[in-house]
Symmetry: C2
Subunit: 134 residues, 2 copies
DNA sequence: ATAATTGCAAATTTTTTGCAGGTTC
DNA sequence: GAACCTGCAAAAAATTTGCAATTAT
């Protein structure tokens, strides 16, 4: 259970209840879109406005607290920043699972003459659960 | 030089001049956003409307002619569909380069219990040219 | 106390839609 | 000739902005 107040302050952002709420929501879900965050946080905090979410998503990305996860054909989702990892995106149920990037894989991805700062790897397909539903 | 008329027909789409124009524009540029396509095609075809581009991008993705390339913090770009490959996206100049995924790399990316249909790999960083500009 | 943040409403931007006229096969 | 496509204008959806009141440090 992350301390969101600490996380915000560490990144030069004031710890408002809206921000901790947004972070908690994203963290619980793993990956959440703006609208999903809005619906979720509003439950506990009905006065929250969409504008506040938009402003804060931008800020928190700038400060490196969260990261955008663009998804084909959908609105982007957001996740807490952590080490680069692979997203397994199920085209059937829509769930997103994280998978660690091993040293081996990292090695393979490295490329001459290009200084990589961060990787974004989305693998689209059918997850185990959906495979067995056939 | 691809035959866009053939490409469209093969994928059950009528070969209109707007569609071949859009495809040519994307193909020349490698990766283009809706707005970039619009500005580009309008040069030769001033009556083209944005609505037509939107409609056709959706259709051509459905038919597998083109593919969406989502970019962090920007509007998506689109490219002609081809074998999965890596996008090297320079954070300094914005240029996108394609890099082939070899069979061995593909092997290594494969994951148990997940049936991959397509991969989307974006590596963000600084390209060779921008590195030497320092 | 100060500077930053919120939430509202309005403005802007982006995307979608309906439809009459035109085009492709 | 039938089915499909285009471009327009209008509608809807998504995002940004300005500002007065509130809140965090």
């Amino acid at each position: 259970m992350t301390d969101y107040i600490e996380l915000l302050k560490k990144n030069d952002l004031k710890a408002t209840i809206q921000r901790t709420g947004i972070l908690k929501s994203i963290d619980n879900a793993g990956h959440f879109s703006i609208d999903e965050i809005y619906e979720d946080v509003k439950e506990h905090y009905p006065t929250l406005s969409l504008a506040t979410i938009y402003k804060n998503i931008i800020l928190m990305i700038q400060q490196g607290v969260i990261v955008e996860v663009p998804i084909n054909g959908e609105k982007s989702k957001y996740e807490l920043k952590k080490d680069d990892h692979i997203h397994l995106i199920c085209k059937s149920c829509g769930k997103i699972k994280d998978k660690e990037i091993t040293k081996e894989k990292e090695q393979i991805l490295s490329i001459e003459n290009f200084q990589i700062t961060n990787a974004q790897i989305n693998l689209y397909g059918i997850c185990k659960e959906c495979q067995s539903k056939i």
